[in-house]
Amino acid sequence: MNSKHPVEAEELQAYLDNELARARRLAIEQHVAACVDCRRLLDDLRAVSARLQAWQVEPAPPHLKPPAFEATAQRVRIRPRLTWRWVAAFGGAAAAVLLIVAVSIPDSLRSRHMTAPPPPPAEVGKKEDRRAPAATPASDMASGIARLRRAEKPAESKDEVGEMNRMAEYAAEAERGREGSLAVAKSAVAQQMIAQEVSLTLMVKDFDKGKRELLAAVEQAGGYIANAASAETPNQPRRADFVVRVPVPQLNAVLEAARGLGRVTYEQQAGEEVTAQYVDLQARLKNARATEQRLVHVLAERTGKVRDILEVEREIARVRQEIERMEAQRKHLENRVALATLSVALVEEFEAKLAPAPVGTGTQLKNALVEGIQNFVGMFVGLALFFARYGLHLLFWGGLGWLGGRAIWIRLRPRLWPAV
């Protein structure tokens, strides 16, 4: 803006777009009427707008419908575009599967040869399902957890490779089916997983000392008390029941300590093999994770309708719930394998004691007298309460009955005794 052009050039465009206040519009109109340059610029701007209007696009296609926001059973467009990424992903998946099979088969064969036969069952106990190794070396007793963590590592490292490989792995696994992934997982878990449970009943002379020493042994072994209950009844031996969880490597030490507390009257050891259960769980977990990844990918690349998106999100939530449930099961299994369950019943050796002295005769008489007075007073109180509660009823119904009976008596008496 200057003395020759009292309007800014930009204002001419705003004038064309009707974006100026009325006073400013009038000022520009006056100036343009007198200024050839500004009039020419205004014409140029109009001409550009006119040229721009040459490019008109077609209206939205009639089949374009609003994305519905209510959920339906239709699915989003799952079929991805076949690009080089997908081709590479499938290729990568096939290579990964070959690699896993090549690595895992020799491992599983080797582990089968090296696995020692299970030790013979223990002699004590009435029932014995499967005796766990009695004195397992500590290195071996790093137990299922460490072994399984090692076994899982290949899968986790694959996860870290990236989205593409995960998708490729899933695609390949889907083709192989669940059985295939089960086989891979089985080969990864070379060692048996055994959940050990021991039950022990001990007869102890010094009950309190026995309890203290048992709990100290558990604490020293790094275990914990899962449940404790004790009962004390007069003229009965005291009894305490404990359920403790101790690390498998320390189980034998705790058992030895417990046996030393007194006389063992019952012992049972059982080992439940959960290897197959664990392997199956791992395979299902892996498949569920792959499914989740795929759904997340589908959601990220979504091009479908709202209902389809909602359907995918619901499916993701369901799969996530399933994964968390299986994770919990897996942790539970690992916990059962890593910590043995030891149920100990401590029973005191019963010593009969003299019964307390009986109550004196005078006291008995006094007690009888007090009881008699209480009963006597109680009878009158009970009667008073009865009449207070039901007196009106009795009067009403009794009066009614008496009147009815009297009327009947008056009618019948002449017939029954006419001579009277």
Binding site: A9, E10, L12, A14, R51, A54, W55, A60, L64, I309
Partner: protein, 183 residues
Amino acid sequence: MRPQTDEELMLAFKGGDAGAYEELFARYKNAIYGYVRRRLNDPGRAEELTQDVFLALVERRNGYEVRAGFRTYLYRIALYRLASELRRRPLAEAAADPPEARMEPETVVQVREALAKLDDEHRDVLILREYQQLSYAEIADVLNIPVGTVRSRLFRAKLALKELLLGERPVVPGLPGQQAGSA
């Protein structure tokens, strides 16, 4: 009965009125489709992105507040979706000639190519004003810039297009020279 404003419809939709939502879609489907269609040059993808914009509207309906104009709200969503799409998609691919380009008149091709030469900030303002007919205040709201910036960007874009389309460098009165908005 008085036709409901966009804002009233949006509030009704926020309250769960499916009819209001369909009405809004009917009012704006062509506008949004045209907007993304001009930026993408791909009818199929423009169609999908239009659905995406309304999908986002559904998802964000609870976040809508009455003080925001519905039109600017919707265009802001479209702008973000477009930006996201263009980030994922190479610009060259997006700006490539559409299949029907061979059938287009020369003037249309010239306009499309001239717009492609503008930088984003000038092109956005120009398209929102010239084709979508948004006011300066609305454009400022959509792009989150001052109204004065909208005015200057639009003016510069027009000057650049004048040179690109008409082959003449425009003379701006009172200015010794001017910066064109061409990229």
